[in-house]
């Protein structure tokens, strides 16, 4: 299992990357963490002419506080997220989710941005990015634009990123004392792709939850928010009946997709179980 031959360029600047992408189009691939790309290349399920290494681009690195946002650069690794005090303070659900991503050796290389732009429906970060209302900052030759995470993941492995654009990083609104969250993931083995997962974030006042984001992953072709369940819960005091209603709503509204060992029916069932657990956990916090 050896990759087909390709050329390699270590890019020194964003404009250089964008120019190369324009020049080579789909014959070029960007490599950040490379934890998906390299496996694909080894298996010859992709044979680019050119691999553009963006790992040295400082603009894509770092976790920083900027005004009312937390900036998480596209090249920030899963391990950095796992360990960063800023994440713990301002986007704690990311820290809760990180250990579920594969294994340490992979988290040391795999990146936040790489995971977002692949948009694997089973991946943790796309769902989390929606749950925390992140904004994707993308740059193309025409300049920069901002895409809310909730509009970023348009279809299976398909994002709103244009072929000649790259993801610079994300802006994440800062979590405060009122914010509660629950990250739920069911995987057959630790680090495997989830059978079903949920990134849930809300604001809590007393027993009432508001601004709810219940974003499921590995159940459909993209991460998917249970909008009706969110609306049911928003601003309400959460009690047993409401939980039951929200669970029913989520099961009804999400069109689940089977995977190799789990039926769509099982995933629909698990959607409800995870939501119930998340709601109870957020109330308990």
């Amino acid at each position: 299992m050896k990759a087909a031959a390709f050329d390699y360029i270590k890019a020194q600047s964003i404009p250089e990357v964008l120019a190369l992408m324009r020049e080579h189009g789909d014959d070029a691939r960007l490599i950040a963490g490379g934890q998906t790309l390299l496996a694909t290349l080894n298996m010859r399920l992709s044979e680019p002419q050119l691999v553009i290494d963006i790992t040295e681009l400082a603009e894509l690195k770092g976790i920083e506080l900027s005004g009312e946002y937390l900036w998480v650069g596209a090249l920030v690794t899963h391990t950095e997220i796992e360990n960063a005090p800023l994440i713990k303070k301002y986007a704690p659900i990311l820290q809760a989710a990180a250990p579920h991503i594969a294994h340490r050796a992979i988290r040391n290389l795999g990146t936040w941005g790489g995971s977002l732009v692949y948009g694997d429906p089973a991946a943790e970060w796309p769902a989390c990015s929606i749950a925390v209302n992140a904004t994707m900052v993308v740059r193309g030759l025409q300049g920069e634009r901002r895409i809310p995470a909730c509009n970023f993941f348009v279809d299976l492995y398909t994002t709103a990123l244009a072929p000649d654009e790259i993801l610079m990083g994300t802006e994440i609104p800062l979590a405060n004392a009122k914010d509660v969250f629950s990250f739920q993931e069911l995987a057959r083995r630790h680090g495997d792709y989830a059978v079903a997962g949920l990134a849930a974030v809300a604001k809590k006042t007393g027993q009432a939850l508001s601004d709810c984001n219940f974003v499921f992953f590995s159940v459909a072709t993209t991460p998917v928010a249970a909008v009706q369940a969110q609306n049911l819960v928003n601003g309400q005091a959460v009690n047993a009946e409401l939980i039951t209603a929200a669970v029913a709503a989520a099961r009804a509204e999400i069109e689940t997709m089977e995977d190799i060992t789990n039926s769509a029916a099982a995933k629909s069932h698990l959607v409800g179980v995870l939501l119930e657990r998340a709601l109870k956990k957020m109330l308990a916090d």
């Binding site: 399920l45 992709s46 279809d155 398909t158 072709t221 190799i260």
Partner: protein, 157 residues
Amino acid sequence: MELNGEQFIAASVPAVWRGLNDVAVLGKAIPGCEAIERISPEEVHAKVMFKIGPVRARFAGKLLLSEVVEEKSCSMAFEGSGGAAGFAKGRSRVELISAEGGTLVSFTTEASIGGKLGQIGGRLISASAKKIADDFFEAFAKELNPLASEISNGGES
């Protein structure tokens, strides 16, 4: 793997039928189609670049039409070889039903993906196939009725 669906297209049954039999239209509608030619009334050959997530595989394939009932229904057998990456094959039954303001295209497909692609891609093969079908019909509808499809796609991206 089974893939069944219905797709409304804002164009008349004859127009849809012509489209389905017009390699120029098909060429624009088939996702990743790089070349397409009609060998005989029943046989079409195509080169398609299959793109899904990190995967890229160039398929050379042929499509065989049978049980053709003008402007109503037909069966297609297709097989494509992606070289080292694997192959895809299957058969599909397509029916056109006249509907309010256009045509309902219903299809039932039985397909299998073999070789490496099947061995690795199992997790998302059926989702990928569904996406390809959706993309095809979206583009197909655009071809037949640009205006209608643009409206239907309003709000995208």
